[in-house]
């Protein structure tokens, strides 16, 4: 096999590059890249920066969240709701200041969005409904946000596992998050690569988007095989083996007690 000698450069490649300018439109690529970077940053955190003061068993955390959201949805009594808000407030006290700011920022943002949506109902039902609804919604959002902030993904998985969710579901979740990282990174890099070859406004952005997600699907299909083999090769059999620290359970159940108290009050208290 003779190493083939390259032919001479074609004329167009020898000519100095001529840069042309085109009128441009707003690019949505930039914005998507920003979102993706934010997502990846969030997923990259091996564990959330904060650990709550008492590390509760993951399943208890999950049950607590469910119970709280349910309670808030059920309760139409301002005093009880107030109690729940106080409960959350005390928990927040333990957060480091930076995390607290982060919590407040995202909570306020999502609450404002929620309130804007229900704002028109003022003209339908008057201020009381609006106020009550907004308060309840933001209380729910706050609880969910607190959970998100204090729960690493691993804990969610082991929580679900302790609650006897089927392995198929847990594995699918685990793979989904793993792939979210990989595919997200892939998508981001593809967008960057695409950008370096975008020398004029794309006439058919949609076609490119189609190609990008088509590629993403096909590649992930190929990856699915390889990654799964890589996982299996390393002993993965669909069961998540986790070294779960043994816990003194009384603390877990104790942590549920305020919520249970409110639940009991809710059931028994008929003002």
């Amino acid at each position: 096999m003779e190493p083939k000698q390259p032919t001479n450069l074609p004329a167009w490649l020898q000519a100095p590059a001529s840069t042309t300018s085109h009128a441009t439109r707003v690019t949505f690529w930039q914005r998507n890249q920003r979102h993706l970077r934010a997502l990846l940053r969030r997923l990259a955190q091996p564990a959330p920066a904060i650990q709550p003061r008492w590390h509760l068993a993951p399943q208890i955390n999950l049950i607590r969240l469910l119970l709280l959201v349910l309670l808030i949805a059920l309760i139409q009594n301002a005093v009880l709701l107030w109690c729940l808000a106080l409960l959350l407030g005390f928990q927040l006290l333990w957060l480091p200041p930076g995390q607290l700011r982060r919590f407040v920022r995202s909570w306020l943002f999502s609450s404002v969005v929620a309130v804007i949506i229900v704002l028109p109902s003022y003209w339908l039902n008057g201020p009381a409904t609006l106020l009550f609804f907004s308060l309840k919604t933001s209380l729910m959002l706050a609880n969910a946000q607190y959970y998100r902030l204090t729960t690493p993904f691993q804990d969610l998985l082991s929580g679900l596992k302790s609650l006897h969710f089927p392995d198929v579901l847990i594995m699918t979740l685990a793979i989904a998050v793993t792939y979210l990282r990989m595919l997200g990174q892939h998508l981001l890099l593809t967008m960057e690569a695409l950008e370096t070859r975008t020398v004029a406004p794309t006439k058919h952005p949609y076609r490119l988007i189609g190609a990008m997600f088509g590629n993403l699907y096909l590649k992930s299909y190929a990856y699915a095989l390889e990654l799964y083999a890589a996982m299996e090769a390393r002993g993965f059999n669909g069961h998540y083996v986790r070294s779960t620290p043994t816990h003194s359970h009384w603390r877990d159940y104790l942590s549920l007690s305020p919520d249970l108290l409110v639940l009991i009050l809710f059931v028994l208290w008929r003002p």
Binding site: M1, Y223, E226, L227, A230, A233, R234, G235, S243
Partner: protein
């Protein structure tokens, strides 16, 4: 006894040939180098050997056991196969899926149910062997190209597989790191592992390879010789220099 035995093995992709009538026997403890032009089928062979794809026709036997699509359909058997064979893919990106390098390496041993101390031991050792100590707490997918290669190798080593399939494991490493990995591979081989490595750098693998299997662009094996054979054929050597 032959560890790996291929008889008339063919593999087709939807619109191209992947492998064309391969016959090959690899014994336990050998250090085999796969060479050949781009697209000649090296990675495809790795895919078949690792059980990611099953041959279209012909036989693949591992330790006397035929590996067929039916065999692979069984999750437990597949898992046993995968435990025997460690693979470092050409594109290591697909191989790293944990949130930290230490986690990545611990993943395998943890699944095997080792004790925490044993896991920790393996992680530390593997990091050290591949010179990745500094990366321990980094996020794998955020590493540089060469770092990823090294971590991928470390994560496979942690499982202590019998057979190592390495698809161009030295690409993108510094020459010093390449040397280090080659030395490591040689040690592994003397510890009894079978090593099958694809490479384009004959000069580098010449020193370690015991057997050279050369593909041609028709996806066939065009030559299969030991290092001793090769010594006697200087023209072959110059040919390999270009692959």
């Amino acid at each position: 006894m032959a560890l790996i035995n291929l008889v008339n093995l063919c593999y087709d992709y939807p619109n191209t040939t992947g492998l064309d009538h391969l016959n090959l026997t690899i014994n336990a403890g050998e250090f085999v180098c796969l060479m050949g032009p781009n697209g000649s089928g090296k990675s495809t062979l790795m895919k078949i050997l690792s059980g990611l794809a099953s041959p279209k026709s012909g036989d693949y036997q591992l330790d006397g056991q035929a590996i067929t699509a039916a065999y692979l359909a069984d999750a437990q058997r597949r898992q046993r196969l995968h435990q025997k064979i460690g693979v470092v893919f050409q594109n290591t990106d697909v191989q790293l899926f944990n949130t930290s390098v230490a986690e990545e390496i611990a993943f395998g041993p943890r699944q095997l149910g080792l004790s925490a101390a044993a896991i920790e031991q393996r992680v530390t050792d593997c990091l050290q062997l591949t010179d990745c100590e500094a990366l321990r707490e980094r996020v794998p997918y955020q590493l540089s190209g060469g770092e990823k290669k090294r971590v991928a190798l470390a994560s496979v080593l942690a499982l202590n597989p019998e057979i190592l399939l390495l698809d161009e494991p030295l690409n993108g490493l510094t020459i010093a790191a390449q040397q280090q990995i080659l030395t490591l591979l040689q040690r592994l081989q003397s510890a009894g592992k079978t090593i099958i490595m694809a490479s384009h750098n004959f000069q580098q693998v010449q020193a370690v390879g015991q057997r050279f299997i050369i593909f041609n662009s028709l996806h066939q094996i065009s030559a299969d010789m030991t290092a001793a054979d090769l010594q006697r054929q200087p023209d072959r050597q110059t040919q390999l220099m270009t692959l």
